[in-house]
Assembly symmetry: C2
Homo-oligomer: 155 residues x 2
DNA sequence: TAAATACCGACTGAATTACTAGGTAATAAC
DNA sequence: GTTATTACCTAGTAATTCAGTCGGTATTTA
């Protein structure tokens, strides 16, 4: 799976949406200002997120974006795959001098790594990050509640 | 850590070197032909690998490249870091609206992932891949020895 | 001396990133 | 109904990276 700053922008924006969208829709203008991402770039990212139904847009004054599903149902992998479109690392279909050679070995290595990364990110939901933020805020406020993070499964 | 096709090229080339370099130095021309990577691009990659002492070059006719250390002492992470130069994901030094915000949360998430990937790749050595190749060849030859892979630790 | 190899630097087309510019469409407030 | 606000859409663009080409120089073996 591809990991770029683009995916990070998307995750950051979605997290902003999850944190601030509890009382109503959040405009891209707000996210843009909060996170220092250009408005038009956000529009591009959200077009991709919308097509995967990770967010829902509402037009007109007072409009903005909602999460498309609950924060616990959206994994980080979902978000990244939406904007970064999972390019399968060039798989050798048995072609060339691939069998038994260095190239094929590297392919399987990369596939393993790819799976590893995916599982890591698929196992963390937006909801997890939100809760992490709440815990952190509590610590900052002087509270000592170090609550173990509940890890929900979102594929 | 950055993961690109560049790193994959480097790993592939190093694996080719490990597999074919037991009897003498391997020329970049050979690797270029084996792996379908342009000679000049290989030169660039090997300049980086050489500066990290992962390979050792010998000039003149009959020359080529040796591994700089034993295959078990070279981890995949070593190789990738040599050519892809580990760009630390823009860390917020407490600046801006970062504390408690979505941005900082995303940063820690990315740091965690980065560590995860690094550990995965640091735990696999070139030697492991070579042994994997030998096992595979034995299976192809009809032998049934499914030997558990010894996993050596190379940092 | 000649050939083979590593080694070195500048340049290049293609792709991607992050962004700008300039729209149209829907909807709430007046 | 008009207007303002928002999402939504398309095209273009500077900077960067990737992967490669080209044209060298330095070293060593035959």
């Amino acid at each position: 799976m591809r990991l770029s700053t683009k995916g990070r922008y998307a995750v950051t924006a979605m997290l902003d949406l999850a944190l601030n969208g509890k009382t109503g829709p959040v405009t891209l203008a707000e996210i843009s200002e909060n996170q220092g991402i250009s408005l038009s770039y956000l529009e591009q990212l959200f077009a991709a997120l919308r097509s995967k139904e990770l967010v829902r847009g509402v037009r007109g004054p007072g409009g903005g974006y909602y999460l498309g599903k609950s924060a616990d149902e959206i994994s980080i992998a979902n978000i990244i795959c939406a904007v970064d479109e999972w390019v399968e690392f060039t798989r050798c279909g048995g072609r060339q001098n691939c069998s038994g050679g260095a190239r094929c070995l590297t392919h399987t290595l990369w596939d393993d790594l790819s799976t590893e990364i995916f599982n890591f990110l698929a196992d963390i939901s937006l909801g997890d990050l939100v809760r992490r933020n709440l815990n952190k805020k509590q610590e900052e406020d002087g509270s000592l509640s170090i609550v173990p993070q509940s890890s929900s499964q979102a594929a």
